[in-house]
């Protein structure tokens, strides 16, 4: 019998098209997702070299990073000249090279990491890449998924492979049950708080344990999405009945006999008993609390009940970084996190822009109003999420509460389009990065779950959602 394998080992082994003596491999790529910001130079490279896209039917393009999310976005005047050039370039490239394409005018358009699973492009056991670090999201299906640079985008377009060396195996186990008010976002932030933003460097993480099993696909995508913020190449969750039920019937999922064959294969996608991990991290689900970030790194995580730390609480290079964060964020050590007043609330992104996220936020907001003077927006992750939320009455709850109800895109998560924070504006955000300037020049970001974002919108301060319910 062969040696026990991890889930990562199995997917890796099934995709090695060539292995050199030094272990450098050509990893075959099953799905290549493409967006407008990191692909233009890659397509241009192909054109210059007279190369084709090897597998256009495995390549899916959608504009998301740079598109306006305002309701009038069909009007070209809503974009700057350079944004228009970039989106038009994707349009042209998608047609010229014959890849699947969801333009802005298509109701299926949205954030690439939401569209992929929604359309059934992402399936268990696949390799999935995209010129975007949050490609890790697709790991929720038990697919090996990671972000790549533009040179690698060009390489995958041309050869449908990636030059790779295998990463190490890391297991992150979340045991037991989550307490009320604690969500997938809190799990993934708590893990990064534990391991640090470089803790996962060189590893592929497999998330497991009862608290992970209990999550919906949406929650699992939230967890895997932020594997990259912990430094890992990818995050994985073994597929199970929850996964299969989500995939079944999706437009590009297998059907009939193909479905049966696929299912049989997918059921072998788990870590064998006795397989070894290079690193194991275990958190108790019941110990995880609703968390927020206080600083400018996703590892700056604290329970909402805590106080702002002091730079002296840290060691080494982190002392200077913590002081820089405190200055940038305009916070005073010892201040209660729940005393921090906010100006803006952003609900959306590939981390938390799915239907379940909107449901969780709407649940808190139902019949309530946002704090006077606050700016609050919901940007659904895709046109289909938006339509479903309208059908379920969630859009009305948001609008009645005082939220702007936007069109789909990345929006204020990376603030490349006009959805930006002003200088020193403070935001409770369901996105994934609180870096300096991430949501706008000198803007201040606190990462939270959708429920916590909704709670903050009502009170105008960072708020423990458990005190509202």
């Amino acid at each position: 019998m062969s040696a026990p394998k991890t889930l990562y080992d199995k997917i890796w082994d099934a995709h090695v098209a060539h292995e050199a003596e030094d272990g450098t491999c050509l990893l075959y790529i099953d799905r290549h997702l493409v967006h407008e910001v990191t692909s233009a130079q890659a397509f241009e490279g192909l054109r210059i070299a007279g190369r084709k896209v090897r597998a256009p039917h495995k390549t899916i393009a959608v504009p998301d990073h740079n598109v306006p999310t305002t309701l009038d976005r069909a009007d070209p005047a809503t974009m700057t000249e350079e944004s228009r050039i970039q989106v038009n370039a994707l349009d042209t490239n998608a047609k010229e090279f014959g890849v699947h394409y969801y333009p802005v005018s298509d109701v299926r358009q949205g954030i690439v990491h939401i569209v992929g699973p929604e359309q059934g492009w992402t399936l268990p056991g696949m390799t999935v890449v995209c010129g975007d670090s949050h490609t890790a999201t697709h790991g929720a299906f038990g697919a090996l998924a990671h972000g790549i640079g533009t040179s690698e985008v060009e390489h995958v377009l041309a050869t449908q492979t990636l030059i790779q060396k295998k990463s190490k195996n890391m297991k992150v186990e979340i045991t037991g049950k989550l307490k009320p008010g604690v969500t997938a976002k809190d799990i993934t932030l708590a893990v990064i708080g534990e391991t640090g933003t470089a803790g996962g460097t060189g590893y592929v993480i497999e998330y497991c344990g009862e608290a992970i099993r209990d999550l919906s696909m949406e929650g699992r995508m939230t967890v895997c999405n932020m594997a990259i913020e912990g430094g890992a190449r990818a995050g994985l969750i073994a597929p199970d009945e929850t996964t299969f039920a989500y995939c079944k019937g999706r437009p590009n999922a297998p059907k009939g006999a193909d479905w049966d064959a696929a299912l049989e294969n997918w059921k072998t996608l788990y870590t064998d008993e006795g397989a070894e991990f290079d690193l194991v991290v275990t958190l108790k689900g019941e110990d995880i609390q609703p968390v927020v970030t206080w600083g400018t790194s996703p590892e700056d995580v604290l329970p909402i009940t805590a106080t702002v730390p002091s730079a002296d609480d840290f060691e080494g290079g982190k002392v200077a970084a913590a002081q820089r964060s405190l200055d940038y964020m305009g916070l005073t050590p010892g201040q209660k996190l729940t005393d921090i007043a906010i100006d803006t609330v952003f609900i959306g992104s590939c981390t938390n822009g799915r239907i379940e996220d909107l449901r969780a936020a709407a649940e808190i907001l139902k019949g309530k109003k946002i704090k006077d003077g606050l700016r609050a927006m919901v940007v659904p992750g895709s046109g289909l999420v938006r339509a479903q939320a309208e059908e379920e009455g969630l859009a009305d709850i948001f609008k009645d509460a005082g939220f702007e109800w936007r069109m789909a895109g990345c929006s204020m998560c990376l603030a490349m389009n006009p959805d930006q924070l002003a200088e020193h504006e403070r935001c409770a955000s369901t996105s994934n990065r609180n870096f300096e300037g991430r949501q706008g020049y000198k803007g201040r970001t606190h990462l939270v779950s959708p429920a916590m974002a909704a709670a903050a919108a009502i009170t105008g301060k960072l708020t423990d959602v458990r005190t509202l319910t």
Binding site: D22, Q41, I85, T159, A198, T201, Y441
Partner: protein, 201 residues
């Protein structure tokens, strides 16, 4: 890509940890569809005021470091977004080598594809190199990829590890896609086998 030659130049110290790719090249500059011209916006928000004037304290604005070709950086350099605009900006500025205790995975891979050598060294070595860099423009460091040795301005030598394949590509200025095309038969064979075994893919 140009062949990677032995490099002797000024090293700039950036001890800050977790320097992310949003810091290296803020997203407002990602709208170009070219690969060049990003160097003028390298570290934009740390380097310039909003009115475009320089922030004098920022290391690359100091007279002694304006022509730096090596960066000595804090832990986890290049974390965050996968944007290759980050190494494009670094290369366009003229920096060809970055030395740190650790790099984020995607940035690390992107660097090699753009003629930048990222070197991982233990903390105690980075500390020595950081001190050497702080001496300014007179202290020129040498990075020899061929022999895998970094030499400080005092002549102190430190060897480093580098992936053999990546080293080969850098030294010879090789194009990855061209190399992979040489193995196209293996890809064809894999694809045919997969199509038979897993037609749903």
């Amino acid at each position: 890509m140009e062949k990677y030659e032995k490099l002797t130049g000024i090293a700039a110290p950036m001890p800050l940890v977790n320097i992310d790719t949003d810091m290296i090249i803020p997203k407002v500059f990602l709208k170009s569809i070219a690969r060049t011209g990003f160097g003028k916006n390298l570290f934009d928000e740390m380097r310039f005021n909003r009115d475009g004037t320089e922030i004098p304290d920022f290391v690359l604005n100091k007279p002694q470091y304006r022509d730096a070709s090596i960066l000595i950086a804090g832990d986890n350099f290049g974390c965050g977004s996968s944007r290759e605009h980050a190494p494009w900006a670094i290369a366009d500025f003229g920096i060809k080598c970055i030395i740190s205790t650790s790099f984020a995975d995607i940035f690390f891979n992107n660097s090699f594809k753009n003629g930048i050598l990222p070197i991982v060294m233990p903390q105690e070595v980075v500390d020595v190199l950081m001190q050497d860099a702080e001496k300014g423009a007179n202290a020129r460091m040498t990075v020899d990829l061929e022999s895998q040795i970094v030499t400080t301005s005092d002549g102190e030598e430190f060897s480093f590890e580098v992936d053999a394949f990546k080293k080969h590509c850098l030294l010879n200025g090789l194009d990855d896609i061209g190399l992979t095309y040489q193995k196209i038969d293996a890809i064809d064979a894999f694809e045919a086998e997969q199509a038979a075994k897993a037609p749903w893919l």
